[in-house]
């Protein structure tokens, strides 16, 4: 399966780190967005995007709002979404899960953890299909 990632984070540093980590895992196809609003625009304009990696705390539209917007739109409702954030409180994780993120990674993360979660999500979504 060819994966095209949408990497959403307001921090340039974090976007680069996520993209570098993806490259390490041989995932070279990606699009960047600086916040939830930008991410939705990218999703609209690029139908090839089939995996979203998003931060939580962002201006304009947060990652959580983005997940809710994605799930509310039937075109993207099954799109795999991985949340990568500093928010480690249990209530935050539950809130994200209620919004239907597919998995959750705490910063700082390693490429191994990223690989593990991407594979978990892919295996789950493929099984569900």
């Amino acid at each position: 399966m060819n994966l095209k990632f949408l990497v959403v984070d307001d921090s340039v540093t974090m976007r680069r780190i996520v993209i570098n980590s993806l490259a390490n895992l041989n995932y070279l196809d990606y699009v960047e967005a600086t916040d939830g609003k930008d991410a939705l625009a990218k999703l609209e304009s690029d139908p090839e995007i089939n995996f979203v990696i998003t931060d939580w705390n962002m201006p304009e539209m947060s990652g959580l709002e983005l997940v809710k917007a994605i799930r509310a739109d039937e075109r993207f409702s099954e799109l795999p979404v991985l949340m990568v954030t500093t928010r480690g409180l249990k209530n935050d994780i539950i809130e994200a899960l209620k919004a239907r993120v597919n998995n959750y990674i705490l910063k700082p993360f390693t490429p191994q953890v990223l690989r593990e979660k991407i594979e978990q999500i892919l295996s789950t979504t493929i099984t569900e299909k």
Partner: protein, 253 residues
């Protein structure tokens, strides 16, 4: 009422008046000291007011400096990332070349063996074996390849550690938010004391970006224990989570 009763009543009132005078006599020094105290307090209050105004005026500078620190660290982090990227590209290139050289060495060794087998001269076969033993670079190349792979891993680890920049910038944004609250509180205090608006309210404006979002609990923590906690919560809830299950989790806390 007869005159005796009137007189008695008058004397009673006079006694009351006397008591009041006596009490007032005692009270006057107290009031005097209170007035003195208030007189002394006014410059003190003015001093406090001045200090608050002074502190409030310094806050924007502090806030501005925090923003500068965030911008500078972001810039520096990206410069480091540029260098790490270059390093990774070059190590990737070296790794490929070394792997290719290893293949050549393997091919060379096989060729030498073939030539030795084809040769009818035992001396020639012996020399070829010696040559093969002496100039077989596979072991050396494997060591170098290991070193290159280690360098690549270290470079990747640097990249991972640089996530600290995002985390510290969120912490600094949280501090800035706190400073902003203090500034507003001080502003209202000065307003209360002076009963008029801050003269230099514009000057005291903090360059705090309202749009700035942050996690006040953001922290840089190496190791996998936090991720393990996340995984535990996610693994319990990742499969169609019911509201009941979620509620149970909330009640556990």
């Amino acid at each position: 009422m007869n005159s005796e009763a009137v007189m008695t009543r008058l004397f009673e009132k006079l006694n009351d008046l006397k008591s009041i005078f006596l009490y007032s006599e005692k009270l006057i020094p107290v009031i005097q000291s209170l007035i003195d105290f208030m007189r002394d307090t006014i410059p003190l209050l003015e001093n406090i007011n001045h200090s608050i105004t002074d502190s409030a005026a310094k806050i924007p500078k502090v806030s501005h400096q925090i923003n500068n620190v965030t911008n500078a660290t972001e810039l520096a982090t990206n410069e480091i990332l540029d260098l790490v990227d270059k390093m990774l590209n070059e190590t990737q290139h070296s790794e490929s070349m070394l792997e290719r050289l290893l293949e050549f060495e393997q091919e060379k060794a096989e060729l030498i063996r073939e030539v030795a087998m084809e040769s009818n001269s035992p001396r020639a076969a012996e020399l070829l074996q010696k040559y093969d033993e002496k100039y077989d670079n596979r072991a050396r190349l494997e060591v170098i390849l290991g070193v290159v792979k280690n360098i690549k891993e270290y470079a990747n680890n640097i990249t991972i550690s640089l996530q600290v920049q995002d985390i510290t910038s969120q912490q600094l944004a949280a501090v800035n938010h706190l400073i902003d609250s203090v500034q507003k509180k001080l502003g209202s205090l000065i307003h209360d004391i002076e009963k008029n608006k801050l003269k230099s309210a514009d000057d005291l404006h903090i360059p705090f970006e309202e749009s700035m979002t942050f996690d006040p609990n953001a922290r840089y923590q190496n190791g996998l224990s936090s991720q393990q906690m996340v995984d535990d919560v996610v693994s319990k809830k990742i499969n169609p989570a019911t509201q009941e299950e979620i509620d149970k989790l909330f009640h556990k806390e």
